[in-house]
C-alpha cells in the first residue's frame, strides 16, 4: 500500500509539491508571527534587565525607555544636574549613572555616562574602564579595536553634521556581548559629552538641531531651554533634598532666560582649547556638582525592591519622572500582543483559506479518480484500503507541508531577527516553546481530520463505477 501511495505521489509530484508548498507557506506565516513577537518580547525584556529604574524629565515614558534602554534617538527634555547629584547621594541608591546622548561615530551612538554604568551593565571584557576625559569604552559589536582613536560626528553617517575634530577619543576597553543595543554603543565620560556639547554651543548656532539628543535642551523652544541647562540659583541647592530643589528651580527658571555655560562647563571649555585638556582624569565630584549640566536620563539601581518603589514615588514630580522600564515594556507588550493577535488572526485566516482550497482540490481530484478508485475496489481492495490510500496521501502531504512550514517559519524568524539585530543591536532570541509543539500537533491532528473527508468520499464511492462507461 505504501508502495502504491509512493507511486501515486511520484506520478503527481508537481501537484503534490504545489499543495505541500501552499501548506508550508501558510504555516510559516503563522509561525513567523508567533516566533517574532516572542523574540521581540524576550529580546527587549533582556535588554531592559540591567535597568531597574530610569529617571527622566516628564514626557513620554515609552520614549524615555526607548531612548535610555534601547538607545533610540529622540529629543528628550533634560533633567537638571541636581537630580543626578541627589540620586548619587541617595542612600536608597546602589548606583546611578547618567545616560547622556553624545554624537555618533560611524553610526554607533556615543553615550556619555560614568564608570558606575559600565560596571552596572556587566563590567568589561577587555581593557579597562575610562578614567580620563578622552577615553572610551566600546560595546561588543562596535567595529573598532582597543587603542583606536576617533572623532565623534554629529548625526549619523550621511546626515548633515560635522566632526568634532577638537575631540579625540581613545578606545581603552570593550564590554562583553549583552545582546542589547549597548553592544553597539560607545561609552564615554559624561563630562566629555558636556564639554563637546558646550563647545559646540559656544562655537556657533550652525550645527544646532542636528543631534536629536543634545540639541533638545538648546533649541529655541523656551520650555525645553529653561529648565535643564540653566544655572539653578545657588541658594536653593541641597543635594539631599532634590525634590524640594526641583520645585523651586522650575519657578526660578521661568524668569531666567539666560542659558549659558555652567560652572563645570566653563572649566572644561577653558581647557578644551588645549589638546591636553582631554588628558584630565574624570572626577566623580563633577557629577555631584549641583551645577553640572543636565542629562536626558538617569539609570538607577536601587538597593532593594522596596527602595525601587520608594524612589519611583519620590521622583514622580513636576520636573522628574521615574519609570520602571519593565513596566513600560509590559504595557508595550500588551499593545504588541494586540498586534500579534491581529496578525495571528490574519495568518489563521490564510491557513483556513489554504486548507479549504486544498480540500476542494483534493475532493475534485478524488471525484475525477472515481473510476480508478472503483477499479481498485472491483479488483478486490477493501474499502478500508481505499480510505487509507486517500487519507494517507493527503495526510502525508499536509504533514510534510506543516513540518516544512515550521522550518520555514523558524528560518524566516531567524533571518528577521538577525536583520533586526544588525540594525538595532537588540538580539532577538528565536525559540520554540513546548506550546508550539502542541500547536504543531494540533495542526497535524486537524490535517488528519480534514484528510479523512476526501477519504470518506473515496470510501463511499461505488466500485461499479469502474465498469460503467
Amino acid at each position: 500500500m505504501l508502495r502504491f501511495i509512493a507511486a501515486d505521489l511520484r506520478r503527481q509530484w508537481a501537484g503534490a509539491l504545489a499543495i505541500l508548498l501552499l501548506v508550508a507557506l501558510a504555516t510559516a506565516l503563522g509561525v513567523v508571527v508567533t516566533l517574532q513577537e516572542r523574540a521581540l518580547r524576550l529580546g527587549s525584556a533582556r535588554a531592559a534587565d540591567a535597568f531597574d529604574l530610569v529617571v527622566g524629565a516628564p514626557g513620554s515614558e515609552t520614549q524615555l525607555v526607548l531612548s535610555s534602554v534601547f538607545l533610540q534617538a529622540a529629543a528628550l527634555p533634560l533633567l537638571p544636574g541636581t537630580v543626578l547629584a541627589g540620586l548619587i547621594a541617595d542612600p536608597r541608591v546602589a548606583w546611578a549613572a547618567p545616560v547622556g546622548f553624545g554624537d555618533f561615530i560611524e553610526g554607533y551612538p556615543i553615550v556619555g555616562t560614568t564608570p558606575a554604568l559600565v560596571e552596572g551593565i556587566g563590567g568589561l571584557a577587555q581593557g579597562r574602564g575610562f578614567a580620563r576625559l578622552g577615553e572610551a569604552v566600546i560595546g561588543a559589536n562596535v567595529g573598532m579595536r582597543l587603542g583606536d582613536h576617533f572623532h565623534p560626528q554629529h548625526g549619523r553617517v550621511g546626515e548633515p553634521g560635522g566632526t568634532h575634530t577638537e575631540i579625540t577619543y581613545h578606545v581603552v576597553g570593550r564590554l562583553p556581548p549583552t545582546g542589547t543595543p549597548w553592544d553597539r554603543a560607545v561609552l564615554v565620560p559624561i563630562e566629555t559629552v558636556w564639554l563637546a556639547h558646550h563647545h559646540d554651543e559656544a562655537d556657533a548656532a550652525g550645527a544646532a538641531g542636528t543631534n536629536p539628543f543634545l540639541r533638545t535642551g538648546h533649541s529655541d523652544a523656551t520650555h525645553e531651554g529653561e529648565a535643564p541647562q540653566a544655572d539653578p540659583p545657588e541658594g536653593d541647592v541641597h543635594n539631599d533634598e532634590p525634590l524640594k530643589h526641583e520645585v523651586h528651580s522650575g519657578e526660578t527658571h521661568a524668569g531666567d532666560t539666560h542659558v549659558g555655560p555652567t560652572h563645570a562647563g566653563e572649566t572644561l571649555e577653558g581647557e578644551a582649547g588645549h589638546p591636553d585638556a582631554l588628558d584630565a582624569p574624570i572626577r566623580a565630584e563633577s557629577l555631584s556638582d549641583p551645577h553640572a549640566p543636565g542629562v536626558p536620563a538617569i539609570v538607577v539601581k536601587p538597593r532593594s525592591i522596596a527602595d525601587a518603589y520608594k524612589l519611583r514615588q519620590a521622583y514622580r514630580t513636576d520636573h522628574t519622572w521615574a519609570v520602571f522600564p519593565g513596566e513600560v515594556l509590559t504595557r508595550l507588550y500588551s499593545t504588541l500582543g494586540d498586534v500579534r493577535l491581529v496578525l495571528s488572526l490574519v495568518a489563521s485566516g490564510a491557513q483556513a483559506l489554504v486548507g479549504a482550497a486544498i480540500l476542494l482540490v483534493v475532493t475534485i481530484h478524488v471525484v475525477q479518480r472515481r473510476r480508478q478508485i472503483g477499479a481498485l475496489r472491483a479488483l478486490g481492495a477493501p474499502r478500508l484500503a481505499i480510505f487509507a490510500i486517500v487519507w494517507g496521501e493527503v495526510a502525508l502531504i499536509a504533514t510534510g507541508g506543516l513540518a516544512a512550514g515550521f522550518a520555514l517559519g523558524y528560518g524566516g524568524a531567524l533571518a528577521l531577527s538577525s536583520a533586526f539585530s544588525a540594525a538595532s543591536g537588540v538580539s532577538l532570541p528565536v525559540a520554540f516553546v513546548p506550546g508550539d509543539l502542541a500547536r504543531l500537533a494540533g495542526l497535524v491532528l486537524a490535517a488528519a481530520i480534514v484528510a479523512s473527508l476526501p477519504a470518506v468520499l473515496a470510501y463511499r464511492q461505488s466500485p461499479a463505477a469502474a465498469l460503467r462507461g
Binding site: 500500500m1 508502495r3 502504491f4 507511486a7 501515486d8 511520484r10 506520478r11 473510476r371 480508478q372 477499479a375 481498485l376 475496489r377 472491483a378 479488483l379 478486490g380 481492495a381 477493501p382 474499502r383 484500503a385 490510500i389 461505488s462 466500485p463 461499479a464 469502474a466 465498469l467 460503467r468
Partner: protein
C-alpha cells in the same frame, strides 16, 4: 498446469433465481431474470446492446452491486445476503476481473500491478504469490515483469491485466469487453489467453463482449435485451 481442483464445485457454479434489479426513477426493471444456471468451469459469452442490462448483470455476478430482489448463489454463497464488505472480501478471493480499460496503475511495474489487489486486500503477500505472478506474466508473454506499466503497448497491458485477474486463482473470471479497446491481433491474442487460462485453471469464465470472433469461440451465449434474457 492441471486444473485446480481444490475449490471446484464450491464456488464455480451459479444458481440465479428470480432476480429483479430496479433503479430509482425507472418504471421497468434494469434486469429481470427468473432463472439462470451456469455450471462449474463453463465458458459463457454475454451479449446485448448497451442499456440491455449487461453491465448490471456483471455487477451483480461479481458482487459489485447489491442484489435488489431474488437470490444469486455462487456455489454455497448467496451474494444477496452479504454486506458490501463481505461481498468485497468474497470478490477478492473468488473473482478475477478483466476490464475494457485495463485499470492498471502507472508508476508500478507489471509485476507490482499483478500483485496490487492482494497487497491491498491483506497486510502481507501470501507465500508463493510473487512466484505465481511471475509465472503468470511469463504465461501471458510478458518478458520483463519489472517493466513500468506505462511503457507497454495496449495489447501488453491487457495481457498483464489477464495475469492479474488470475493471480489469486479465482473460481470465476469475469471479463468486460476485454478486446474492445485493442486492435484485432492483440484482441485475438488476449481472447486466446483468456480461454486457455480459464480452461487450465478450471475457472468459470463469463465474457461480456460485442466481439463476434470471441463470441464464436465460447460454447454458450447469453443474449440480453431490455434487461431480459432471450433464448
Amino acid at each position: 498446469m492441471p486444473p485446480d481442483t481444490t475449490r471446484s464445485g464450491t464456488t464455480r457454479f451459479l444458481r440465479l433465481r428470480a432476480v429483479e434489479q430496479r433503479f430509482p426513477g425507472l418504471d421497468t426493471p434494469a434486469l429481470a431474470i427468473p432463472s439462470l444456471d451456469i455450471a462449474a468451469g463453463e465458458q459463457v459469452a454475454v451479449m446485448g446492446p448497451s442499456g440491455s442490462g449487461k453491465t448490471t448483470l456483471i455487477n451483480l455476478l461479481t458482487g459489485l452491486e447489491r442484489v435488489g430482489q431474488g437470490s444469486l448463489i455462487w456455489g454455497d454463497t448467496d451474494l444477496a445476503t452479504l454486506s458490501e464488505g463481505a461481498r468485497d472480501r468474497w470478490r477478492a478471493a473468488n473473482v478475477g476481473l478483466v476490464m475494457q480499460d485495463f485499470h492498471l496503475f502507472p508508476g508500478l511495474s507489471a509485476l507490482e500491478n499483478v500483485l496490487l489487489p492482494q497487497r491491498l486486500a491483506r497486510l502481507a503477500l501470501p507465500a508463493g504469490a510473487r512466484a505465481e505472478a511471475g509465472r503468470l506474466l511469463a504465461r501471458v508473454g510478458i518478458e520483463r515483469p519489472g517493466q513500468a506499466i506505462e511503457t507497454m503497448s495496449r495489447g501488453q497491458m491487457q495481457r498483464v491485466a489477464v495475469a492479474r485477474a488470475l493471480a489469486v486463482r479465482p473460481a470465476i473470471i469475469v471479463a468486460d469487453e476485454p478486446t474492445a479497446s485493442l486492435d484485432a491481433d492483440s484482441g485475438a491474442a488476449v481472447a486466446q489467453l483468456l480461454l486457455e487460462l480459464a480452461g487450465e485453471s478450471g475457472a468459470t469464465l463469463l465474457v461480456a463482449t460485442h466481439d463476434a470472433s470471441l463470441v464464436a469461440r465460447l460454447p454458450r451465449v447469453l443474449r440480453l435485451e431490455s434487461g431480459r434474457l432471450k433464448d
